[in-house]
Amino acid sequence: MHASRGRIALSAAALTGTVDGERVALAATGTWTAERASELEQIVDAAAGRYEKARSVDIDLAKLERLDTFGAWLIERLNRAFTAQGANTRIVNSSETDRGLIDEVRLVNRAPAKEADGPNPILLALDSIGRSVAEIGSSLVLLAHLLGALTRVVLGTIVHPARLRVTSTVHHLERVGWRAVPIITLCTFLIGAIIAQQGIFRFRPFGADIYVVDMVTVLVLREVGVLIVCIMVAGRSGSAYTAELGSMKMREEIDALRTMGFDPVEVLVLPRIVALVLAVPMLTFLGAMAALYGAGLVCWLYGGMTPDIFLARLREAVWLPTFAVGMIKAPFMALLIGLVACVEGFEVDGSAASLGQRTTSSVVRSIFLVIVLDGFFAVFFAAIGM
């Protein structure tokens, strides 16, 4: 009988093999722990390949210094590899303390990790397109649901005005209206100034400076003012609504309200949307004034148009319906922003990621829908001659 010795690795953790015909004795030495798991894995896989022909394998743990789950699992992996190659494998001389762990890992990972091949990528792409389309549909349905629920609550509140939560409404009005005043007036002031500056710069070669006032007025009062305000409100307050309602949903606060017999639409949604519907027209008005002020200032300082000429021209350019168009649109857009924000908030599920994703889509969708609604209003006002 001929015996040969093979040493697989020289390190603090090692596996020494002694071959005796078809019998192999492997001795594990050193520390078999997480820190060495990477090299141990190579040692173990190499050993399984090297002693392919073995019919009987003894894995001797007598010289093992330390063992943790990582090492125990690798020994078990070795054991299973030899068993799969048809060798009769035994783990011998394990210490009292290690035996429990070795017996424990013997039981795990038995179920074949049946990782079915991922589905066809084309099918996956089609699947995700289909899901997005279906989601657009279902989110419109949810929007309609919430609008219906809100209408019911509003009608109920008209019959019993005491049901409106005044404190809550005022609180939200302060947050979405009063506290938004500085940033919204600043932005619209700048927008008005920029439009006026560009107008003066482009119109001057034609000697048409004076019509800058008409352009600024019509643009700001009809379209840009309300759009800028709505975009800012969607980013500022719509996102806050979604995040608040979403985290309340995650912590089961909404379920708690429901079990106490309260309607979440009445308690949470109505005050928020009422606040928004009141705040946005006021902000739109303030924004329009700030934009006109900015335009006037630029016309005076940059265009050399004195304030009395600007005001005189303004009086001719503004026609009441121009102003009314902007103001009429504002509450509808506010309603839309509020509805989208609340629907998205109620759609949050358990994970932190979904809260972030819903908040993003609340802002993106409400801005998109505000622009679409603005388009419909443009068609409508043109049709009735305003």
Partner: protein
Amino acid sequence: MTTNEPVISVRDLVVGFGPANVLDHITLDVLRGEILGFVGGSGAGKSVLMRTIVGLLPMRHGRIEVFGSDLAALNDRERRSIERRWGVLFQQGALFSSLNVQQNIEFPIRENLKKLSPRLIEEIALAKLEMVGLQPDVRKKYPSELSGGMIKRAALARALALDPDIVFLDEPTSGLDPIGAAEFDELIRTLQRTLGLSVFMVTHDLDSLHAICSRIAVLSEGRIIATGSIETMLASEHPWLRSYFHGKRARPALH
């Protein structure tokens, strides 16, 4: 195999918020291989001690030694290597909600042992999953799809991912039904034996104290008023201990 060598030793620790001291000159040892049950009234500061030891809260005075080294004196690298040797099970599990169960367990392994092959990481994660008594098919589930008991088990698997020497358990059986709680106690004891863990367990559960704790420390009014075995606690004449261990709710558990 409890030895008298402490793995954690807390000396003269003071922790407070604002003007009040929640922990007032506390001294406590956790010995290698023991399960230390830490009890006290709600708001007594049990979790505060645990959070101070693992470094989530600052201390005002005192000294905490883990594996013989003073935590305050360690540099970042030394501290990380100590942190790798403990695992924490938070009261609500604190699983990462955007990762599934398998990814949650793999996370500490992947981040700390960067050289490991993906195959080995996955096998170890699944081994841990089964060791805490979860079925392999929950590995693809997200925390929001799990029951309370499954969350605790998955969180325990994550706490054990790196084969720590110490595990901190913050009310491990709270929110579990009595059967689930008993199973969880049994699981902790089995794992403690097979993995040779030292366990620091904050608990209110008298059954756990009785069934698995080798030693109990009692915190009241910011001080440790007693340490010892369950028998010592039962025999104590201290009024708080009497009402805790002999109150109405205690009887079915201990008698």
